[in-house]
C-alpha cells in the first residue's frame, strides 16, 4: 500500500513537471467533450431553412365558389417545424444552402394559389437541398410531417367546397354564378321524375327503353356520387413538396458513407504513418545524425509526408475501386477522385509530420494522432444548421483548421458531385498544407 502511494506521488510529480502534456491531457479532452456535448444536447431542434415566399400579397387569397381561402395562413404550420431564415431572392436562398448557412431552402412559388384554385396542375412548394443525404434527412421529415398537417387543413376546406357542389348535384338547390341565381334540379329529383314518367308510359312505348336507361344512369350517379365525398377527403393532398438540389444531384446515404469511409482511412494512414515515421527518427537517435547536414529539415519532412501521402492515396484509391464493385460509382470522374485523394492525403500527411515533430517517440505520436483526429472527425460531420448557430461557428472554425472536413468535401464532390466543388476544397487543403508545413518545420527545432 505504501509502495502504491509512493508510485502515485512519483507519477503525479512527473505529470506536474510536464505542464504541456498535462494541460493537453486535461484541457483538450475537456474542450472537445464540451463541444460534443453541446452539439448533442443543445441542438435547437428546428433545422435552419432559408424561406422565400414568392406569392404577392394580392394573390394570397383564392376563391373556391363562395369560399375564400388565405394561403398564407397555412404557412404557419410549416414555420412550427423549421427555424426559418427569411431571404429576399431565390439566388440568396440557393447561396445559403450552398455555403451551409442553412440546411435547405423552402420556396413557395407565386403559382401556388392559381394551381390550388384551378386544380389543373399539382400545387407544390420547392425544397432545395445541397445534395447531402444527412442534411436532407434532417429537414425532409420535419417538412413532410408539417406539410401533411397543412394539407389536412387545406383539404378540409377544399372538401367542404367540393362537397357542397356534390350536394347541389345530388339534391339540387340554388347555384350563384356570375351574379345570377340558378335553380338546380339535382340527380335525386331527376331520378324520381324519370321514374314517374317511365311508370306512366305504356309498356310498348318506343320511349320506354330510352327513359329506363336514363333512370338507371341517375340511380347509379346518385349512389356513386354520394360516396365520392369520402373519396375526396381520403386522397386529398393539395400541396406537394418538390425536392431539388443546388448542384442538381442528391448524394444518397450510401455514397455519402463511401466518402466518409475513404476520408477516414486516408486520415488514419497518413497521420499514423507520417507522425510515426518522423518520431522514429528521434527514437532511433538518427534525427541528430541526419540533421547535421546530411538532409535538410524540409527534405526530411517532405520525405515522411510523401511516403505517408502515397501510401494513403493508394489505399484510398484501392478502396474506391473495391467499393465500386458493390456501389455504382462514376469512373469517368476517376481523375477527380485521385485529385481529391492526393489533396486530402497531402494535408493529413503534413499534419502528421507536425505531430511527429512535436512528439519524440512512436507510441506517443500514434496516441496523439488518434487523440486529435477522433473528436474532430465527429465535429466535422455535424451538419450545418443542425446545432445552435454560435456553437456551429465554433465547430466550423475547428473543422476548418483540421484537414478532415475539406478532405471529405473534396472527396464527396469528386465522387458524388456535391458542393462545394472539388477545386474549392482543394484550395482549402492547399492552405492547410502550407500552414501545417510551417508548423512542422518549427516543430523540428524542439
Amino acid at each position: 500500500m505504501l509502495a502504491l502511494r509512493w508510485l502515485l506521488g512519483k507519477d503525479l510529480r512527473i505529470l506536474r513537471r510536464s505542464p504541456v502534456l498535462s494541460t493537453l491531457l486535461i484541457l483538450y479532452p475537456a474542450v472537445v467533450a464540451v463541444l460534443i456535448g453541446l452539439a448533442l444536447s443543445r441542438s435547437p431542434g428546428l433545422p435552419r431553412v432559408a424561406f422565400l415566399n414568392e406569392i404577392p400579397p394580392s394573390s394570397a387569397v383564392i376563391s373556391l365558389g363562395k369560399t375564400q381561402i388565405n394561403i398564407t395562413s397555412y404557412e404557419s404550420h410549416l414555420f412550427k417545424a423549421l427555424k426559418l431564415v427569411p431571404v429576399k431572392t431565390r439566388a440568396q436562398a440557393l447561396d445559403d444552402v450552398r455555403d451551409g448557412t442553412t440546411l435547405a431552402a423552402l420556396i413557395i412559388p407565386a403559382t401556388l394559389p392559381k394551381r390550388l384554385a384551378t386544380g389543373d396542375e399539382t400545387a407544390f412548394i420547392r425544397v432545395v437541398y445541397n445534395g447531402s443525404a444527412i442534411n436532407e434527412s434532417l429537414v425532409q421529415s420535419a417538412i413532410e410531417s408539417k406539410l401533411g398537417q397543412a394539407n389536412a387543413l387545406l383539404a378540409a376546406q377544399l372538401e367542404k367546397v367540393a362537397g357542397s357542389y356534390i350536394d347541389l348535384l345530388l339534391s339540387g338547390g340554388k347555384l350563384h354564378f356570375l351574379g345570377e341565381t340558378f335553380n338546380v334540379l339535382g340527380l335525386r329529383a331527376s331520378e324520381r321524375l324519370v321514374d314517374k314518367v317511365v311508370a306512366q308510359l305504356p309498356a310498348n312505348s318506343p320511349f320506354y327503353p330510352r327513359l329506363a336507361a336514363v333512370a338507371s344512369f341517375a340511380k347509379i350517379a346518385v349512389n356513386n356520387l354520394g360516396t365520392s365525398k369520402a373519396v375526396i377527403g381520403a386522397v386529398a393532398a393539395p400541396v406537394v413538396a418538390r425536392n431539388e438540389f443546388v448542384n442538381g444531384r442528391r448524394t444518397p446515404l450510401d455514397f455519402y458513407a463511401v466518402a466518409v469511409a475513404v476520408t477516414v482511412s486516408l486520415m488514419f494512414v497518413c497521420l499514423l504513418l507520417a507522425s510515426g515515421m518522423l518520431a522514429l527518427e528521434r527514437e532511433e537517435n538518427t534525427f541528430g545524425r541526419l540533421a547535421r547536414g546530411l538532409v535538410r529539415p524540409g527534405a526530411l519532412l517532405a520525405e515522411k509526408a510523401l511516403l505517408a501521402a502515397t501510401c494513403a492515396a493508394l489505399v484510398g484509391f484501392a478502396m474506391l475501386a473495391g467499393i465500386s464493385i458493390f456501389v455504382t460509382l462514376d469512373w469517368t470522374r476517376a481523375g477527380l477522385w485521385l485529385l481529391a485523394i492526393v489533396g486530402g492525403s497531402a494535408a493529413f500527411a503534413t499534419l502528421g509530420v507536425t505531430l511527429g515533430g512535436l512528439v519524440r517517440d512512436v507510441r506517443a505520436a500514434s496516441l496523439v494522432a488518434l487523440l486529435v483526429s477522433f473528436p474532430l472527425v465527429f465535429l466535422a460531420l455535424v451538419p450545418a444548421g443542425a446545432v445552435a448557430p454560435g456553437l456551429y461557428d465554433v465547430i466550423r472554425v475547428l473543422s476548418a483548421v483540421f484537414p478532415f472536413k475539406p478532405a471529405f468535401e473534396a472527396l464527396n464532390a469528386a465522387v458524388n458531385h456535391s458542393s462545394p466543388s472539388v477545386w474549392v476544397a482543394i484550395g482549402h487543403l492547399a492552405v492547410l498544407v502550407a500552414g501545417f508545413g510551417v508548423l512542422a518545420r518549427l516543430s523540428l527545432r524542439r
Binding site: 532511433e284 537517435n285 538518427t286 541528430g288 545524425r289 547535421r292 547536414g293
Partner: protein, 232 residues
C-alpha cells in the same frame, strides 16, 4: 605540429537560463587524439554536439578547412534498428555523398570486423556490436576529424582494445580525433592531450602530466584533486 583541422572559438551554449557551455576555445591538429574529460554534466556531450554541427551554438564558432568532413559518433547508437548492418552502412554512405559508397562500406565492414554480421538487423545485435556499427557509420566518409562521444562505454575489454587499435590507425593516417570519456586511464593511454571541463567551463587544456604535477602519481586522484582546487 600539423595544421589545425578543427578550431573552436569562444564556444557557448545555453538551454533557457541554464548555461551548458561557456567560452570554450581550442584547436585540434591533424592526427592528434584529444580526450575531453570531466565530471557528469560538465558539458562534454554538448561540446561534441556543437563541434559536430548537430546543435547550433549560442555563442562562438567552430571552423574546419573548407571541404573537410567531420565524423560524429554520438553517445547513444544512432542507427536504424530495423535495417541490417549492411543497409545502415550503405544508406549513410550515400547520405554522406561518399564517392564510392560500396568501397567505403566494404572497408568499414573489414575494419570493424562486422562482415559476418553484415546481413543481421541491428535490433538483433548486442549493445557492443551496435556501438561498432554506430562508430562505423560515423567514420564512413573518412573524415578529417572524428568526434566520438564515450565510444568505449558499452564495449567489453576485447572490443575496446580493437576499437582503440582502429582509432589509432585512423589518427596515424592523419585523422584528428576528439573523444569524451569518464575513464581517466583510457585518456592517459590513448590521448595526446586532454581538455578538462566542469560545469560548462574549460578548466584545463594540455597533457595529463601537467595535470598530475604536484598532485601525486595516481592520475585519477590527481584529477579529483584538481577539480576540488578549482571549486568543483
Amino acid at each position: 605540429m600539423a595544421a589545425a583541422t578543427l578550431r573552436a572559438l569562444s564556444l557557448g551554449k545555453r538551454f533557457g537560463e541554464r548555461v551548458a557551455l561557456r567560452e570554450v576555445s581550442f584547436e585540434l591538429a591533424g592526427g592528434e587524439i584529444l580526450a575531453v574529460i570531466g565530471p557528469n554534466g560538465a558539458g562534454k556531450t554538448t561540446l561534441l554536439s556543437l563541434l559536430a554541427g548537430a546543435m547550433a551554438p549560442s555563442d562562438g564558432s567552430v571552423s574546419s578547412p573548407a571541404g573537410e568532413r567531420i565524423g560524429w559518433v554520438p553517445q547513444q547508437t544512432a542507427v536504424y534498428s530495423k535495417l541490417s548492418v549492411l543497409e545502415n552502412l550503405r544508406l549513410f554512405a550515400r547520405l554522406e555523398r561518399v564517392a564510392d559508397p560500396q568501397a567505403a562500406v566494404e572497408t568499414m565492414l573489414e575494419q570493424t570486423g562486422l562482415r559476418e554480421r553484415a546481413d543481421e538487423q541491428l535490433g538483433r545485435l548486442s549493445g557492443g556490436n551496435r556501438q561498432r556499427v554506430n562508430i562505423a557509420v560515423g567514420l564512413l566518409a573518412d573524415p578529417a576529424v572524428a568526434l566520438l562521444d564515450e565510444p568505449s562505454a558499452s564495449l567489453d575489454p576485447r572490443q575496446r582494445e580493437r576499437l582503440w587499435r582502429f582509432i589509432g590507425a585512423r589518427a596515424q593516417a592523419g585523422t584528428g580525433i576528439v573523444f569524451t570519456t569518464h575513464d581517466i586511464a583510457e585518456a592517459e593511454r590513448y590521448a595526446d592531450r586532454v581538455l578538462v571541463l566542469a560545469d560548462g567551463e574549460l578548466l584545463y587544456a594540455g597533457s595529463l602530466d601537467g595535470l598530475r604535477e604536484g598532485r601525486g602519481a595516481d592520475l585519477e586522484a590527481a584529477f579529483v584533486e584538481f577539480l576540488r582546487e578549482r571549486g568543483h
